[in-house]
Amino acid sequence: MNIVVAMKQIPDLQQIRIRNRQPLFDDVPLTLGTIDKNALEAAVVLKEADESIKVTVLSAGNEEVEDTVKEALAAGADEAFLVLDDALEGADSAAIAAVLAAAIKQMEDVDLILFGEGSGDNYSGQVGSRVAELLNMPQAGYVSAMEIKGGNAVVTRTLEDCDEVLEMTLPGVISVMAGLNEPRIPSVTQILKAGKKPKEVLELDEVDVDIKKLAFTETISNLAPESNRKKIVVKSVDELLQGLRSENLIGR
């Protein structure tokens, strides 16, 4: 059984600084999305229970992905399938989905494709749904538990007010929920071995997608919201309550 895990390279969000409301990306290390790591961990757990499972990490992005993806290979993926072009960095979700779907079509017999519920930086939850449509596959999102039984996946989709238990015929697409599991931290030997795992690297024209035609969205601005909080440091609970009372916020 072949499982593909789609993982996006993103800047480490904890290290982004804001200056004059602008996010600064200089010297911010690249990593893979947190929820994408949950998706990978879920695939690796399935693999540990069934040795016939092969886990392939799929990523589209700039040249640096080749290095960033080692993290996933160290954490248990068997191989990587990468589509690399600088134009893919920050490309529209429609373009990324088309590239990923085209890449998956080039792979052999994919049974299950895993996504995160949202990418770390954009968190728009579109790419998995778009790929499912492009490949004409059933999908289940916000999955908090999954099992493979015969040719089917049995999954729990966690919505705001209920859980749906679904049986999905494979091949299919699953997007996992944030915090689904605790992704493993690879050991030093695993990190060393990761560099030797197979990597298939394609250029954009090898997947035959014209991403310029799929640039549907335009960003006018992307700034940190203005914060003009008062930041009054009080010394005691009494002083705090006094302040809140004076503003009519308590004891009304």
Binding site: L13, Q14, I18, P23, A94, G120, D121, S124, G125, Q126, G128, S129, R130, A132, E133, L134, M137, P138, Q139, A140, G141, Y142, V154, R157, L159, E160, D161, C162, D163, E164, V165, L166, E167, M168, T169, G172, S175, A178, A215, F216, T217, E218, T219, I220, S221, L223, A224, P225, S227, R229, K230, K231, I232, V234, V237, L240, L241, L244, L249, I250
Partner: protein, 308 residues
């Protein structure tokens, strides 16, 4: 403005979408609401002034996102709607990408405000995990926009119409085995005027008792950061504030032992007044607050409870 189609699996959110649609369209005749197997929603939407197109098809299940997107795609084609507004709850977000792909649209999700400007619909949404607010629009003629719950007030009053719509439904590759409704009381922290939120600075589940007492004294609700619900499981997930939780706009938010990472603060930054109580005087939360008290939260809560 081109025709607008609205759809949500939840009636209250569909009513909000009707308001959103009205805010970007000058002609209510251009706005069409689709319902799927939901008579109660047909009623509510038509009474709120919507032109409702109801799809009743027993073999179309809401759990099959592909089938729902296919049905909505057919509806949009038939009704001549280039713009589709969905709700950005989990179901709506999942449908959004698929539907956009079906109709060949650009798509934005998690949108919390819409404005029309020179024929463009500009959308605001949080980006970089909430660190920034992106102002974006879709260049393509076909647009799918998913709107965050409670960004618009529900529509009310008006006289709409009810029409039937038939769509083709393909056999589903999904079988719904079971629906488990979430147990426990449901709270609506988004509606609360006062919020007392706890983070991982709280020592134990037992200490929640005094936090609940404080919330009660202030006439508010207890909320929390994500790890308190998902890792520690001390509170239910519907009390989580933040990117993957709720966006709250209370008059007063008392934040206890929360470090203030952006995924949390994005859910509380619209509060009128914020108080941060934290042992770390460098906690990010403090710099995003109106009042800062650097002390042990347990001592502070006890003192507040006895003073109030």
């Amino acid at each position: 403005m081109a025709g607008i189609l609205i759809f949500s699996d939840k009636t209250n959110l569909a009513l909000e979408l009707l308001t959103a649609a009205n805010s970007i369209s000058s002609s209510s005749a251009d706005i069409k609401a689709v319902t799927i197997n939901n008579d109660e929603q047909v009623q509510a939407l038509s009474e709120a002034g919507a032109n409702v197109y109801r799809i009743n098809a027993a073999d179309l299940i809401m759990a099959d996102v592909g089938a729902v997107a296919a049905a909505l795609g057919q509806a949009a084609g038939e009704l001549g709607s280039d713009i589709i507004l969905l709700s950005s709850n989990r179901r709506g977000k999942e449908i959004a990408g698929r539907l956009a792909q079906v109709v060949g649209a650009g798509c934005l999700t998690d949108v919390n405000s819409l404005e029309t400007d020179d024929g463009k619909i500009t959308c605001k949404r949080n980006a970089l995990a909430g660190a920034t607010v992106a102002n974006q629009y879709i260049k393509a003629d076909k647009q799918v926009i998913a709107i965050v719950p409670k960004s618009f007030a529900p529509a009310e009053g008006g006289s709409g119409s009810i029409n039937d719509l038939t769509v083709e439904v393909k056999p589903s590759a999904l079988k719904l085995l079971e629906v488990k409704t979430k147990a426990g009381e449901s709270v609506d922290i988004e509606a609360a005027e006062v919020i007392v939120a706890v983070g991982q600075g709280l020592n134990s589940k037992d200490d929640l008792v005094m936090v609940e007492e404080l919330a009660k004294l202030l006439g508010g609700e207890v909320a929390c950061s994500k790890p308190v619900a998902t890792d520690k499981k001390w509170l239910s997930e519907d009390r989580v504030i933040g990117l993957s939780g709720k966006k709250c706009k209370p008059q007063l938010a008392i934040i206890l032992g929360v470090s203030g990472q952006v995924q949390f603060t994005v859910g509380i930054r619209d509060a009128k007044t914020i108080v941060s109580i934290n042992t770390d005087d460098n906690a990010t939360m403090n710099s995003l607050s109106d009042y800062v008290l650097v002390t042990d939260l347990h001592e502070a809560v006890k003192a507040m409870n006895s003073a109030l």
